[in-house]
Each structure stands twice: as C-alpha cells, then as structure tokens.
Amino acid sequence: MARHAPARNGWVVWLTFAIGLLLSVSPLPQFMEIFRPLWLALLLAFWALALPHKIGMVTAWMLGLAEDVLYGTLLGQNALILTLITFLVLSLQQRLRMFPMWQQCLVILVIFGLAQLVQLWLSALTGNRQPTLALVLPALVSALLWPWVSYGLRGLRLRLKIN
C-alpha cells in the first residue's frame, strides 16, 4: 500500500464494491434477513460523496445489474434503484458534505426509504409483492450503519490517498 501520487488506488474502491456484493449475499440467520442493510447503496453513497468525479450513476447502474443477476430479479430493477440513490446523493452532494453526521443519517434514511418504496412498486409490478412495512427496515438499518461506514471508509481513503 505505498503512498502513490494522487489519482491512484482506485482499485480499493472496486474492492469495497466487491466486498459489498459479497455482504449482500452472505448468509444471515433467518430473523436477521429482513434487517439486511443495503450494502451496495451505502458504499455507492459514500464514494459518490467522496469521489463524485469517478463514481457516478453509470457505476451505480453496472453494480445494480450485478445485483440483479445475484438476486435473480429482473435485469434492471436494482440498477434503477441504485441509479436513483446515486442521483439523489449526487444532487444533494454539496449540502450533504456539510451536514453533521446525524443529519446525514436522516437524509440517508429518507433517500433509502424512498428507494425501498420504488423497490416495492417494482416488485409489485413483477408479481411478488411483499408484506409492506418491513421493507423500510433495511433503510433504517443502513442509516444507522452510515456513520460507521462513512468514518471507516474515510479513514481508509485518507490512509491510502484514494483519489
């Protein structure tokens, strides 16, 4: 992990995404399944805030496609969701970076909740509608995880000078 010049270490970003993909399919105990955080969305939100010139909606869309294949949903469903999340994060980016952590959490909660609602509509369209409100739980858990993810990745980013 040498300290290279700026604009290096981009692979770490992709490594975190790969880990995110793994986490999003890792087996969990039955009762915790409904709390599974939206790992990819969290990572995307962080990197979109930190490196808006590198990580954008196209990345989100690709990752979403990958998630679709993993989950066996319609190709494009999660892609749409993640693109939407990234779009919202990017459009709030200037403000979001200034917010204190608790406020960031709130914004993340709202954005992810919205995304989960879209998810609900889409899955209702494709025929397997879920018993509703439990669907917002992942958004809540993700919002609670946001400070940890955010501080952790920020530390990683400063340490490796990811740019």
Binding site: V25, P27, E33, M57, Y71, G72, G76, L80
Partner: protein, 365 residues
Amino acid sequence: MLVVLSVAVMVVDARFTLLKPVRSQMSLVLMQSYWIADLPERLYQGVASQFGSRTELAADNEKLKTENLLLQGRLQKLAALTEQNVRLRELLNSSALVNEKVEVAELIGMDPNPFTHRIIINKGERDGVVLGQPVLDARGLMGQVVELMPYTSRVLLLTDTTHSIPVQVNRNGLRAIASGTGNPERLELRHVADTADIKEGDLLVSSGLGQRFPAGYPVATVKEVIHDSGQPFAIVRAVPTAALNRSRYLLLVFSDGRSPEERAADAAQQQESLEHPSADPAVVPSATLPATTPAAATAAKPAATSPAKPATTRAAPAPAATPAATPAAAPTKTPATKAVAKPPAKPAATKTPATAPETPRQREE
C-alpha cells in the same frame, strides 16, 4: 437516461429471452460470490471433519451401518413391491411407473430477499439441469428449478408464496393444492371442502397432476384442520416433510425422457383404463388381488398412492367414482388382515363424504 435504459432493460428481460445469454454470462462470474460467501461454512465443516475424533467417527460409522442395513431391508421389500405394482398395473392395462434418476446437488446459497424462499444449488445448465426440474431432499419434495445458470441454478421452494403444488392425501387419495405461505414450516391447502376427509397427521404426497412433479413423493404432513363455520372452506395447514431450511444436500430428479405432452397422454390413458374397471367394481379387485402374493397387505400403500386418482371423496359431482375406488384399495388390505371390515358394506359407506372417515380408520389397522 439511465432510468429509461433500466426500464427498457427490465421490460425486455420480462418479455423476451433476448437477455438470457447476457444474464448467464454475468452469472458465471457473479455467482462465485455465493460460493465465496459460503466459504466460511465450508471451511468450518472441513476443519470439523479433519478434527473429528476417532471414536466419534467410529460411532458415526456404526450408526450409518445400521441405517444402511435398515434401508437395505426396506429396499428388498421395495423391489418385490415394485414388481408387484408393475404386474398389477399390467393387469389393469396401464403404463408402468418408470424409475426416476436422481443426482445429488449441494446448496450454496440462500436468496437474500427475506420475502422469497429460493435457494441456489451448485448444479446448472451444463450439468443437465432443466427448467422446472423437481428437487428433493432425503425426506420429501423441496421445490423446483426456476432459473438456470451455467453452473448454478435457482430453486423455488414449496413454501414460497408464489408456489403451489398439486397433492393428494396418501390415506385416501383426496386431491388438493398445497400453496406456500412464506413461512418455511407451513403449507396451506386451498379450497378444501369442510366435509372433506382430511385430518391431522395425514401424509400429503405429490399427485403428479401438474405434470411437473413426479407422483408419489411425500410433500407435507397435515398439522391442523380448522373448521370455521364462517369460512366457505376448511383451513388446512401442513408442515413440509422436507427440511426446507436445513438441508444442505439435495436430489435433483431426472424423470423419464417423455415430454409433458406424452406424459399427459399416458396419464390420460391410465386414467381411462382406471375408470373402465370402476364401471363394475366387484369384478376387478376380487379378480386381480387374491391372485397376487398374499403379502398384499403391505402392498396397500403403493397401490393406494398411484392408482388412487379416481378416489375423490371430494368430487361429489361424480358419485359413481367414489364407491368404485375405495373397494379397489380396501380389498388389498382385508384379505390379509383379519378381515377387519365387511367389504360389501363399504360402497354404501363411502357414498356421503361425511361417513367417509370410517373406511380409512379401518385401513389403518
């Protein structure tokens, strides 16, 4: 713009098969992540088996040996029974059951979505798995393959809310449809008449009527039957016999090479040939059954599972079928046991569904 693109992709994926190769290529790489996510479990098992003590292994071996012996014993009986079943079917002029081939697959992942019951197994298109293929575990039916990838496939479990399977009660052949509820320990029988002869502890086996699942595999045992006068139908809850959320090794069933149409034709023919003897019930059972081995008592089970299709205690509109079918199953039992019931009384008893429970109870002796 990406939104439009993703909507377009979704529509295309939902309506056409254009994107199937893309998906399959992507899954080739991405499905490794299930494998990697499963790695800790695999490692733990490997380590545990490495360090399993000798005494433990010996005990295990002993246990497996006894189990094997028991199964072998049962298998011997099964060979005779299969032969007998084939002979009986020949007498009835119907097609014989073909033995299904099975292959072992291993579970590598659960679907992360908590609201669906799907699992991922390590056999895919290249292993000859086909869409809609039934999947078993050691104790019963688990589900069917719904998505194929090159080296993996996705299996929809019986308990998923979008899944239903045609079943029949092993005891009397009553047909029903078992739907998933989203609870891994529960199936529900839909539209079962309040007066239907079904009770707690009944074994439900697949009836093969949907032409997707092979007939005769155990599906569930009835846990409770609730008669609510406010409801048009009885509420029947059943527990799947397969360990849906615990089994790690599964069996993929490769049924015979017949296409669904051929199978349907065969089934229809079989149905026909079964209905013919039912025209005069006195002749067929008395003629065929005593002619075979006296061990017909044990044969009652396989004989009851497969040809029991017309035995619809529920199908009241066709009352001609009911008295015919029950004697067909009953005399198999009665000559061998101490003539528990008087056979002539039975057709009368089965006419109304309300009195139907009497016959099964006698048969269970």
